[in-house]
């Protein structure tokens, strides 16, 4: 603005030189080219976004196609049939449906109260100083891979259940009805508890988000009426956040229904309908993880039946996730007021107001005396209300500690059992040693390592990242930059729903797809990578979209005003500004994929030697934990604990590191 003022002490004002002249036709040609490029970029990203919808449809279609025969042969009786006997061709899936429902119900019943208490504590009641540290720790629970939970549960939780907790429950309840039977630790109750631990961080994190979406002013309005912190939470926060909290619980349910590996390890692996909480059982996902690979060899009947179970689970989790996301989106859209208000006591008597006389029997002066009396009694009442607040805060703190306990125990157990492995250089370079018999670690035990599995994990992740990162970012770009149309919100929504699809079903999808079209590489590194890339894709899409949306309009507009074409604004300016958040999303997606087990069991074949190529079977760290963790050979189990510790360390470093990355350089205000 204004004329440039001469700067004292310099040689004199610099005379601005005229910009280099470009001929008009050249400028026009260049402009036309840039506009074409911009359109091509728009089309490219839009194509990938449509592709994501296609992938979602394909997920359902491929599973439906592979189970077509089974669906027609067994009809609706398939789900209610009480007997599963593939040898005699009897396929009744009720034991697994029941197992899935019972374990999820137990998990939900245990997790919801604790998770909500954690959310309320971290969002409302905790002193600000400890909030960040505690919420980071609770969020770390979500970063622990499923197989680590399972392995820890078998080592620590199952003995505790069998030795102390379950006999205790049986003593107090008299061991009747749902508490009857032999309590051996490997049962639906233990599976439910493991599920509760695993879904707790999901429920508490999403609930916390819903709570903090309520504006500060609401809380302050309640406090200005004389509410304590807890009363302000109850009055002003829980109500508006209700639909978000229900959404959070449903997301937790979706995870519980589809959780595979941890449940597989502790549920007891018995194909019967559970009759008590101490019955061993089987869930849909644990059955698929255990039997699908061998079913491919056993023939189309068993295979089709298992894929049909997968389809049932898929539709169930999609339905749960759709409802959950709809509830959560309502909060995010700022429609907290859309929550139905409470019509307490059905209708208030003031409705009679339409009559000309006063609608109440209490005259104003009597009412004033009553209020004065209430105010006079207030100091005594306040002490009681304050005690209630302190008690609830203490309970919520206790819940938070309870939620963190498993993480502490997992880290402790992994260090104790695997510490000796990870400090050994051969651990990273050697292959699995010969098994050490009997199962006691002696100096004579052969020593090896998990070198092939580390290489396998890196290879799988590398290929998966090569597919998922560019595609994911392009789709994210489309949603953030061009998504204000009918397609955009739909793709965003489907992406959210896809993050809730159980990973085992991604494995089933890839296996079925490869069996149909590339059956010679159905269990191979490339199949595993494809499965992992589908797992990573929605996470990358969403974080890219969210990150780009935080780039201020003013930044874009100033770039556009300089004559940048639209696609260059996106690629250079917007992505540049949002880079840290996108990197974070990619790292977190990679962390999830790196710990993934269920999808890899089905697609890679699990392999103990050095990787030989993309078309061959391959090993991975989580698979090694799953396969040799409970082998009974001491040296194998030590290496499995070492692998657990290694995975855990990487996951925790990524989770904490990305937080620091984001905090140090926020993308924008």
């Amino acid at each position: 603005m204004g004329r440039p003022s001469p700067v004292a002490g310099e040689e004199g004002p610099e005379i601005p030189t005229a910009p280099p002249r470009v001929s008009r036709p050249a400028l026009l040609r260049r402009g036309t080219l840039l506009i074409r490029l911009s359109r091509a970029f728009h089309g490219l990203t839009g194509g990938f976004a449509l592709g994501l919808l296609g992938l979602f449809v394909a997920l359902v279609a491929v599973l439906a196609r592979a189970s077509w025969g089974s669906i027609f042969r067994y009809g609706p009786g398939f789900l209610s049939g009480p007997t599963w006997d593939p040898v005699h061709g009897i396929f009744g899936a009720w034991p697994f449906v029941a197992g899935t429902l019972v374990t999820s119900a137990i998990g939900l019943a245990l997790a919801v109260p604790v998770a909500l208490a954690v959310a309320v504590f971290l969002s409302e009641l905790a002193p600000p100083r400890i909030r960040l540290a505690l919420s980071t720790t609770v969020d770390l629970l979500a970063a622990v891979p499923s197989v680590v939970y399972g392995f820890w549960a078998v080592a620590v939780l199952v003995p505790l259940m069998a030795g102390t907790i379950e006999p205790g429950i049986q003593r107090t309840t008299g061991a009747v009805g749902p508490f009857s039977g032999h309590a051996g630790g490997l049962d639906v109750l233990t599976a439910g508890i493991v599920l509760a631990i695993m879904i707790l961080p999901t429920i508490s994190a999403v609930s916390r988000e819903a709570l903090s979406a309520v504006s500060r002013q609401q809380r302050e309005a309640a406090m200005s009426l004389g509410a304590t912190r807890w009363e302000a939470t109850r009055l002003a926060v829980l109500g508006p956040a209700r639909s978000g909290i229900v959404g959070a619980i449903l997301l937790g349910l979706g995870r519980a229904l589809g959780e595979t590996i941890a449940v597989t390890l502790v549920i007891g692996d018995i194909n019967r309908v559970p009759t008590s909480i101490f019955s061993p059982g089987q869930t849909i996902s644990s059955l698929i993880a255990g039997d699908l690979n061998s079913a491919v060899a056993e023939g189309p009947a068993v295979y089709g039946a298992l894929v049909e179970l997968g389809l049932v689970l898929l539709l169930l989790t999609i339905a749960v996730n759709v409802v959950a996301r709809l509830l959560i989106w309502r909060i995010r859209g700022g429609e907290a007021g859309g929550a139905r208000h409470r019509r307490k006591h059905s209708r208030s008597s003031l409705l009679l107001a339409a009559t000309p006389t006063d609608p109440t029997h209490v005259p104003v002066d009597r009412w004033h005396r009553r209020r004065a009396a209430a105010l006079a009694q207030l100091p005594r009442r306040v002490r009681r209300r304050h005690r209630t607040y302190l008690l609830l805060a203490a309970l919520c703190l206790a819940a938070t500690v309870l939620a963190i306990l498993p993480l502490a125990s997992i880290v402790y157990t992994a260090v104790q059992n695997g510490g000796s492995a990870v400090v050994r250089p051969t651990f990273y370079t050697e292959t699995q040693p010969a098994a050490c018999n009997p199962g006691v670690l002696t100096p004579t035990c052969p020593i090896g390592g998990v070198g092939p599995q580390i290489e396998g994990t890196l290879l799988l992740l590398g290929v998966a990242a090569l597919i998922a990162i560019p595609v994911g970012i392009l789709i994210g770009v489309y949603l953030a930059e061009y998504g204000r149309n009918r397609l955009g919100p739909g793709v965003s929504f489907i992406t959210d729903v896809m993050t809730g699809v159980p990973s085992i079903l991604l494995g089933v999808f890839v296996l079925a797809l490869f069996l149909r079209y590339f059956s010679n590489v159905a269990t191979s590194a490339i199949a595993g990578s494809v499965a992992l890339s589908i797992l990573m894709l929605p996470l990358i899409v969403r974080t890219t979209e969210e990150a780009l949306k935080t780039v201020p309009v003013s930044v874009r507009e100033s770039a556009l005003a300089l004559g940048f074409p639209r696609h260059r604004v996106t690629l250079r300016v917007a992505i540049g500004t949002a880079r840290n958040a996108i990197v974070t999303g990619v790292l977190l997606a990679a962390a999830r994929a790196g710990g993934e087990t269920a999808a890899l069991i089905l697609t890679t074949g699990g392999f103990q030697f050095w990787p030989t190529g993309l078309t061959h079977p391959i090993g991975a760290l989580p698979l090694l934990i799953f396969q040799s963790g409970l082998s009974g050979y001491a040296n194998w189990e030590t290496d499995a604990w070492g692998a657990t510790l290694l995975l855990l360390a990487i996951m925790l470093i990524i989770s904490v590191g990305t937080r620091l990355l984001l905090r140090r350089a926020p993308a924008s205000e």
Binding site: E220, A221, A222, S224, L225, A227, S348, S349, L351
Partner: protein
């Protein structure tokens, strides 16, 4: 502290306030007269809202909020009293209308009464009716007090918030830019309401709208950069300011 003869309803001495390390109020001494309307004016960021939030001890609930100094309500130090009790005596209404969105009109007003321990149906009815009348909202909502509070217009919501604050029987009412989110007609209604309330309540209103201060306030305090520059009758502040800074502000030279 010896010359208590002319102390006001609220008597503020040596008030300092911080957000984290940033100090936002410096040594404020101010006596808010009993009854009538006192306006707090000043440019953005001068600490006028923070000052208001100190008066019902809400500032200390803000993350990083810290207060130092003395505030006496009827010659009793409010920091020696329970904050719940203080907030029942000193009510507050915020900038944006903030009814509890999931509650009905009736339940919004009854919320504070339930906190007081009033549970009987007819007593609640009397309280809600009385408060809605005082806030001038009764005639507009009497046909359906069970409707959601969010179904009201912005101005009605703000008057509902005033009714909600009045219900618990405060002596002082703090209004933090209550009209800045409202259209002119709704603003006029709220201003008339304030004029009617000042007979019964001591009203303190923060406003960035100088004309509003001249319309509603008996006394005016001018804040600048966290310090109280001048306090006096509204007429005095706007027409015969003692400080040059005040004169420059009220005549529109800056701000």
């Amino acid at each position: 502290m010896s010359s208590d003869v002319l102390r006001g309803k609220l008597s503020v001495r040596g008030l300092n306030a911080w957000y984290g390390k940033r100090q936002v109020l410096y040594d404020v001494d101010l006596d808010i007269p009993d009854g009538g309307v006192t306006a707090i004016i000043g440019p953005s960021g001068c600490g006028k809202s923070t000052f208001l939030r100190c008066l019902n001890r809400l500032h200390e609930e803000t993350p990083g909020g810290r207060v130092d100094g003395s505030i006496q309500l009827d010659s009793e130090e409010i920091r020696d009293q329970n904050e719940v009790f203080v907030r029942c005596r000193v009510g507050m209404v915020f900038q944006r209308p903030s009814p509890f969105p999931n509650l009905s009109i009736y339940e919004n007003v009854a919320a504070g009464l339930r906190l007081l321990g009033i549970r009987k149906r007819d007593e609640l009815d009397a309280g809600v009716l009385d408060s809605l009348r005082k806030a001038g909202l009764w005639d507009e909502v009497k046909d359906d007090v069970d409707a959601p509070a969010t179904s009201l217009s912005g101005g009605q919501q703000q008057r509902l918030c005033i009714a909600r604050a009045l219900a618990v029987g405060p002596e002082v009412l703090l209004l933090d830019e209550p009209c800045s989110a409202l259209d002119p007609i709704a603003t006029t209604k709220v201003e008339h309401l304030i004029a009617g309330l000042k007979a019964t309540y001591t009203v303190v209103i923060v406003t960035h709208n100088l004309a509003q201060a001249t319309r509603v306030a008996d006394h005016t305090a001018f804040f600048y950069l966290g310090k109280l520059v001048e306090f006096g009758t509204t007429d005095g502040i706007f027409h015969h300011p003692k400080e040059k800074l005040t004169e420059n502000y009220v005549t529109g030279l800056f701000g």
